[in-house]
Amino acid sequence: MAQFTKKSFARGVLLTTQHVQTPVDAVATALASASIDGNLPQAPWRMTLNLPFVDSSSQEYQVGTDQQKSCILLPFVMPPPQEAFDSVSWQQPVNFPTLKSISISFDQRAEPYAVTDQYCAASFEGYLTNTDMDRYTLTLELLERLPTILGGTETDFRSVYKIVIPGEETYGNQFVRQNPYLINELNLPINPLRTYVFRLTAHGLYSDNVSTERLALPSFTLSLAGTYPLMNRDTFTPNAPDKTDLLPQTAAVTIPTLVPNQLIDGTSDLQAMFSVFDQHLADRLQSGISDESELAVAEQLDMDAAYSIIAVPMWGSTGQVRCRNATGAGLPYLSGVAPETDPTCDRRVIPVPTGFTVHHIVVVQNLVSYPSPLTTTFAGFGGDVGGNNLYHKVGVSLLAINDHYANQQIGYLEWTRPTIAHQIDLFKMNGTEESFRLHNMPLVAPAGTNNVSSYTLTGNPVYCGSGNSTTDTRNQIGQMPEVFGAGALQSPSTNGIENLLEIRWLIQDAVDGLSNALTLDNVLVGTGGHWVYIIGKQILHRRD
């Protein structure tokens, strides 16, 4: 329904000034209060999952049904923003993200050949081989499941999309290869309260014939694109610029009042009235935020925040690590001597997304490790087999690196097997071995200020964005999530000049060690690595 309407100027009806004045007054009021709806199109979102490599070890186990065979699994969730998240009655939100397209790619060195991996019997990794390119046939399936936090069982999946990409035709043609391969016009609704899992099978990568090369998909990339309705941006959030609190910036819109029988002279008549609106249209209707967290001086549009999700790969370049190979797997910062009680850590540092409000952080713990005796030498399944002192500690913080070096925590989560308290989902792809645990990372909040607008108790959304000398004074922010110590509200330690986002994932067993001999098949890093999803609202980008 249109936001503004008017009565038709019907023939025979006496035209009064109110016929014009009433609708234009309504428009003027909306312009002056930054509440033009505008029926704007849906906003795009993009989530890109990059694996440094998919090698043959991930495809070696080919026993049983398709669901039992080894594969690469990439789980994700797309929860709604906090204000639409109902964790009391678990009602579905009104809006669902729509998945429109998937781009699938990997690096084959711009040739119609395959690339070898490190498990080749007679070649080095990264070499080109003129093999049967049907070995590059990929099957990508998108599975949906009810997460265990909502009562789902650990083994139930529903296939919502599946495609088989033939290797020879797609990657082996000398003249035209479809790498990247684009799947478009999907229009798949993504249920915000379900877990989704991409399952990639490429069994041709592996061969148990020692006279055949084993293959890899280097830099394997899934780039998902879709849409979600525009939303109002968050206001008064922790770390938001104090100058505006991200409130709509308004300016009066003055239009002349029409008087009957008035001479048209352009100063206070019909022409002057229409000129006011014309100028707004010519100047373009404003909204959005700049790279320095500046809003427009006067805004007119109501909604300017898009759904956004940043997929951060952690430990993706490590390969599978179990306790049995923790010493010697090349995990950094360890002593190299069992039992390895020191911590090991991966760290991502990315530019802070300006105008981004973090609503949820979902931590995805990968426990996938299939038997792969002829590649990694793992004879049996790996999984979560014990080790009650094994800690995973994951943190996300803003980082200022310039004259002022400081981190400002925005979320933190740690767990051991006995202390898992923020789990969203746990599933077993093959029906028996634990594949993934998804955890909800609580956001920072002072004591007593948690809210229920996420899977588990969490803090209010946190604003991220660089500032300048007018936007660097920020709203106060908590220091840690309430369950991990809370702390009083205080000015952010990054002083409103954060330019980076830092994500850390630390793994340590200070008691039994990472090479714990009692839990040799405990998976520290599963095939493809762990993930951290940062989910929130991205305010439209405005150039100063």
Partner: protein, 276 residues
Amino acid sequence: MSSVRNLPEQFQQGCDISASRIERNLDALLEAVNTVQPRHQGTRLVETRMVLGFQPSTVAVPQSLPWLRAYNYTGDAANWEPPTTFDNPWRLKATGIPEDIVPELNSGNLLSWEVSWHTEKPTLVKDVTVVMAGYEAEYANTFVYGAVPPTGKAIGGSVDDWCVQLFVDSPLDTDDRKAVTVEKVWTQRKMQAFTLQATQIAGPDTTMQPPHPAAGLNGMLIRLPCFTFIPSGSRVRVAITLPQYPMPGAPAASGWGQYPWNSQVISASIAQLESL
């Protein structure tokens, strides 16, 4: 008297002021604000971000995937079914190869990590950022030339033998790398210009939780502004290229060492601005 440009009717002295002309203007105004068109919107771009991460293994001879040689030739063809012809020997343009590296003679090489994606709608690549964390015991890249520097380089001088590029496949000849459009290329730039911190921060880093076992964040922050328009239906690629100097001199040639992908922790990020 000002004239209006976005509404169909002008009203001025001496002109007819009919109800139909007034209504035409009013309808145009209400349509403009009820359904705001792109031409009337000040902002209509959404920033999206893709993230890559590579923390090398610390084993003596590390796994090299996804770093692949930039030069395609029989010298690194697999043993069992080696290709003998190559369509794109030099699959990357304008990498600024250091003089001491001659891949054709199997004398060193360039190693690239390439990520690609297909755009369905027109987009702007806003920036490409590569953070290389170094100066640690495990990841000891100093980003300077070593005791036996390459030809023309000075001991202790900043390395300038790396390359980051953004390129788009030709829409007409998609798999001919001679036909690609190199939209942005950064090569032969002194790495020291991208130093994260003037003074290296000693560890362990406890300024956030969990504390990092090694030092504070030291290394290089390479932020490359692009603002490059990418047409719809494009195949976009970003490649990070590092030099691998020939042995036995490689370990002493520069901070990249013998295995250049192994000397730093890399976090890379590509920001795009996508249209409503």
